[in-house]
Symmetry: C2
Subunit: 329 residues, 2 copies
Amino acid sequence: MKFGGKIGIVGAGALGAFYGARLYRAGNDVHFLVRTGFELIREHGYEIRSCDGDFTIKPPVYSAPEDLGKCDLILVGLKAFANHFLPEVLGPLATPNTVVVTLQNGLGNEETIAEALVKCGVHRSVAEASKQIIGGTAFLCSNRVAPNVIIHSAHGFVRLAEFQGSPKERTFAVAQLFLDAGISCDVRESLAAIRWEKLVWNIPFNGLGVAAHQADTAVILADPELRTTAVEIMKEVIAAAKVNGVDLDERLVADLIGKTEIMGHYKSSMQIDFEAGRPLEVEAILGEPVRRAQQKGFSAPRMHMLYALVRRMDQLRQSNLENSQSRSS
Amino acid sequence: MKFGGKIGIVGAGALGAFYGARLYRAGNDVHFLVRTGFELIREHGYEIRSCDGDFTIKPPVYSAPEDLGKCDLILVGLKAFANHFLPEVLGPLATPNTVVVTLQNGLGNEETIAEALVKCGVHRSVAEASKQIIGGTAFLCSNRVAPNVIIHSAHGFVRLAEFQGSPKERTFAVAQLFLDAGISCDVRESLAAIRWEKLVWNIPFNGLGVAAHQADTAVILADPELRTTAVEIMKEVIAAAKVNGVDLDERLVADLIGKTEIMGHYKSSMQIDFEAGRPLEVEAILGEPVRRAQQKGFSAPRMHMLYALVRRMDQLRQSNLENSQSRSS
């Protein structure tokens, strides 16, 4: 099976625009839904400054999902805190046969997408909607520096799994789309396994990146107490995965610490969001994993405390924002 | 036995100056060693604006410990981060018979004072010096708003115990000094017990007060995740006390939460220090308790993580300070 349909990109930020641009450049029928900088992108297209080679594309872009219309495949790259937009966005884009691929961070996004597909009337039940969803993790270092300019500094590897059940022909077809676009991609049996595995890195380095104040990976690893904390959090995430039926190898901790050592002063996406004054993916990356651990009877003390602290900082940023808005109005 | 000797106040801040002033007003021979605002205090004395009644005193003050000279009793109210001054300060003030009372926060101050008394040549061994030390906890809400102005807003209760062995006649004599000055005071058998009991409140509310950003007691208790975190930290401190031989009643948690509920928007001393740009008592209140828990095989996950985060914020403040100093020089 080779995929040849219409592809819609929802959440065309550092992640969505990068993968969308690569798929477009490879000759696919890719359409971008754009919230920020619509006029600019329509006129000048996307500029991808990439470690794999710079390129520019001028794909079809839309500011309203109704204009983009029905798709065969939707790629969701929204930040998880923007998931409340999903029902209004997916309604005009999805049919009962549309496959939705989410490369978002953390846990709970597939469930939210399934609910959105019911809410907007595309599917009659969450169970039915869930069958149309593929989840994935993206190992990508990219940053949007202007509405139409993406800097891709490293990696790009994508790992996919069906939300419900085992990989199907279509899962491999989607993976082939990425491969044909020059993106490494593999398919795995268990979505939970790939999500939890990514959280082993994401929870400590995103969480501490915010809670420990402008603490990039090098800062965390150079501070003996923060380094120990990061390692202990990683072990906790592996334990939380285990009570959720996912067996990860304990050696993953040393492996990831080693890989992080050579990343230098790398900022996690949550740290970048925080420093830019944006909302944080606090529920997807921290809250939901903590709840799933605690529902299975594991207290996850460090993960919970990290969640409480980052949640507080996210709310504080929001209330500071509201205060400054009410002062200036 | 009634205490009638010369009393030296070391660390005449919100705590030391308050108790020193009360002891002075009660007719004791009290002398103040003053670092900040010496001229001001010598000229105008101390102004104590107290919930128990305002008063002013003009006691003898000194800027050099050599001028103050030998004392029978030394009351140490220094912030723990200033303990490195102790050898130079205690040398001129102490004799082998001098009793040193520390009302400082956290763990490890008695050990540091004993080492300082050896370092400055007053005692020949730490064991000998340790016998001259009384530890205590002060339940006091006070704040220094100018070098010579102390606001005393609530409480003041003092609890004393010998650093080594059981209470002696002198322990009760020192307690009587406080009682005669109108300060509630009792004597306990175990210093470790009173120190750990105070830490059950101090660790969560000082630590989170800084780590959770301007989070006073009301903010912590109103946020469901921070409140749970505070409660879980309190349980951890009780567990850390237990492995250190101190049995505290688990009901202390609910009792302290209840008492904190009615305190309103109360700022812990560490939060106040942080907001004022001062160093934090991070080792005495967090580092040393964590080390003592871990030495006994208890990992104290939340306490350790809180220590790592507050330590980071203390160092960050320090390096920001150095940066701004080097910029302005």
